[in-house]
Symmetry: C2
Subunit: 399 residues, 2 copies
């Protein structure tokens, strides 16, 4: 069943490289034993290098949403004024979690498809203060998976640091971290959340968080209730090479293997590959007549949203694409039915993007759409070539 799909182009779960698939079949070990402690001893420093941080990194047995909940409930108390900067469905979700646990949330809702700007964040903080609310935290989304927009986190975080130095910076970096340049420590981020099934090329099941010393201090004061997501329990267990609750052992095996693949490719090459895949996707879709949803100045290098033309029945068309071997994602939240999304993160090459564009082209031609066969492919490959991209040497070639 699982292998009939040849091109999984959704923004997570992302396709698994063969060595990662293989690690998923390993026999269990005792999660309180020396093998697991050795794994933790490799994975945590590997993630620290990926996050670009010297802060503690913990592993939660949960999806990214669980990681966002952990980011909220460990560092805030009911009633705490919080600024939630939302540019899409996942920004709304982050805000909703904080609201659910009793934070006093001010929502800065940016038009979907656009990025947040530092001036808007500053104005929102000013507005909170006029209402007598000093922000205890600012919630930011790095890469908004629902719209295909990447926020300028360095600039946004810098602005918050300037105007509200006491506010914690809690960042949803689930679908961007590891695929594009990101600097946890240089940007002064307090909590950064990612998920195994995105750029890390691992099945879903783990959320990974980096926590600054300021975040730990806040955790000492925060009174929102938490047990499963208690990060201090995770930190204490990590010091003994384990986790407080039984971790998803096979997903941990896979993360260990994937981090090895990532480090052997190297982050600069990974970032270049994502830039090339993203450029190919955008150019290919545009050449096929689709309007891209995101502001081009902030278009994501991991996921592209395109507008569904009025004349196209997305449900029927996506089923047709699936029959031809291509799985894309529909729209989320208020964009359901209005956009579709192409994931290009993790284990993906420009040739994978060309295959996706080919299938899209083929299906559009078959549907009688006025598409010039090959136009999408030519546009995609030229756009990719215009972005510096190292090609891997063929197997067996001396380095």
């Amino acid at each position: 069943m699982a292998n009939l799909q040849t091109h999984l182009r959704v923004p997570g779960p992302t396709p698994l490289p063969d060595p990662v698939r293989s690690a998923g079949s390993w026999q269990m070990v005792n999660h309180r034993g020396p093998e697991f402690a050795a794994l933790m001893g490799r994975v945590v420093p590997g993630l620290q290098r990926g996050f670009r941080t010297v802060n503690d990194v913990v592993l939660l047995g949960a999806s990214g949403t669980g990681g966002l909940e952990a980011a909220v409930v460990n560092h805030l108390s009911p009633g705490d004024p919080v600024l939630a900067v939302s540019v899409g469905a996942f920004g709304e979700r982050f805000a909703k979690i904080a609201t659910r646990y009793g934070a006093d949330v001010t929502l800065l809702a940016i038009e979907w498809g656009r990025a947040a700007e530092p001036a808007a964040v500053r104005d929102a903080i000013d507005g909170m203060r006029r209402g007598g609310r000093e922000p205890a935290a600012v919630l930011l989304t790095h890469n908004e998976t629902s719209t295909g927009v990447t926020n300028p986190i360095a600039a946004l975080a810098g602005e918050v640091r300037d105007v509200a130095p006491g506010a914690l910076l809690l960042v949803d970096a689930i679908s961007g971290l590891g695929a594009v340049p990101f600097e946890t420590d240089e940007w002064g981020l307090d909590v950064v959340v990612t998920g195994s099934q995105k750029s890390w090329m691992v099945p879903p099941g783990l959320s990974m968080l980096a926590l600054s010393p300021r975040a730990w201090e806040a955790a000492d004061r925060a009174t929102m209730p938490r047990f499963y997501f208690d990060l201090k329990a995770h930190r204490d267990a990590a010091a003994k090479g384990s986790t407080p609750w039984t971790p998803p052992v096979s997903v941990c095996f896979q993360l260990d293997v994937a981090l090895g693949l990532i480090e052997s490719e190297g982050y600069p090459a990974i970032f270049a590959r994502h830039a090339a895949c993203a450029a190919a996707t955008r150019a290919g879709l545009a050449a096929l007549g689709f309007r891209l949803f995101a502001d081009p100045a902030h278009a994501s290098d991991t996921v592209t949203a395109a507008v569904v033309p009025d004349s196209l029945d997305w449900k029927a068309f996506s089923a047709e694409l699936r029959r031809r071997g291509l799985t894309l994602a529909g729209g989320q939240g208020k964009l359901t039915g209005l956009v579709f999304r192409v994931g290009h993160l993790g284990h993906v090459s420009v040739d994978d993007i060309l295959a996706a564009i080919d299938i899209l082209e083929e299906a559009l031609v078959a549907a009688g759409r006025p598409v010039d066969r090959g136009a999408g492919l030519v546009a995609a490959v030229r756009a990719a070539d215009a972005v510096s991209r190292p090609r891997p040497a063929p197997a067996g070639t001396p380095a």
Copy 2:
């Protein structure tokens, strides 16, 4: 690394059968697509048969502890009087979760190694009422993994139903369900929690819960905060063949395969096999001179705790066992260093138990202990034979 261990005899994660291992290596699919919906359409009814329930069953991307948290926070409000019946470390954990979220918890702490009795539960409820507390829920542990005791849930639940018919019955069945007879509906249980890494022969990563109509009604009133563990969001997504957040897809593949293996063996044969393995474990350990920790009348068929003799350095001895290919579990909570535990649940045969007893015997002899070589094996195999146990036909034998 992972495969050097030949005998993993901890009470979870349990060893994986080969077809389950293989499914862990399958390529990802879209968790919002038709393949995953088809999987949910097999797994949910399979679990309902395992739980012996017609109630809704939901899958959470979490360990069993996450499932316990979900059981508490979806059905209770801060201040609700709750009776927590604890017979060990996991009973304490369940109580602690309820306390953490603001329940008014009365702890009925039974001596570790013993089971709870209906009369004690009735007395505790009477005591609560004398203090003006009408229990909104009673928390029960089916099989206490820290002590190797199985509570008589049918009798305990019946007592609660009689004396406090309004109280919800929330049952931690993580390490017993699927391995020993269990009747969710016949016993009138409102919330039953289990975990993938126990009798289900699947890696950790999923907690599965059955929810009665009464539980759903309580969820409408309950005000403890929840987001990731919001069970109504899970029920709504399940109706569309999905989960509200990205599920641990590979673990779901593995659960699907494991349920097929389980149903082809059949629950009566599985229960008999666990009874035989448990009898062999207890008899073998006793013949080697170990004192069993649990009250024999309530000894668990999935995990056995034995007392560490004063003269034995458990840390050094367990490392020696590991070198010889046997991984056992130490004690938990206040039993740390005082007992060790042998897991015999999931993918385990009497021959696996004999191997464990053999290695224990060998290591005891090597340590100069007065052990009659072979005595443990003889006692184990005789005890197993005394329990009715069907042997699987050799591969290729006509049925």
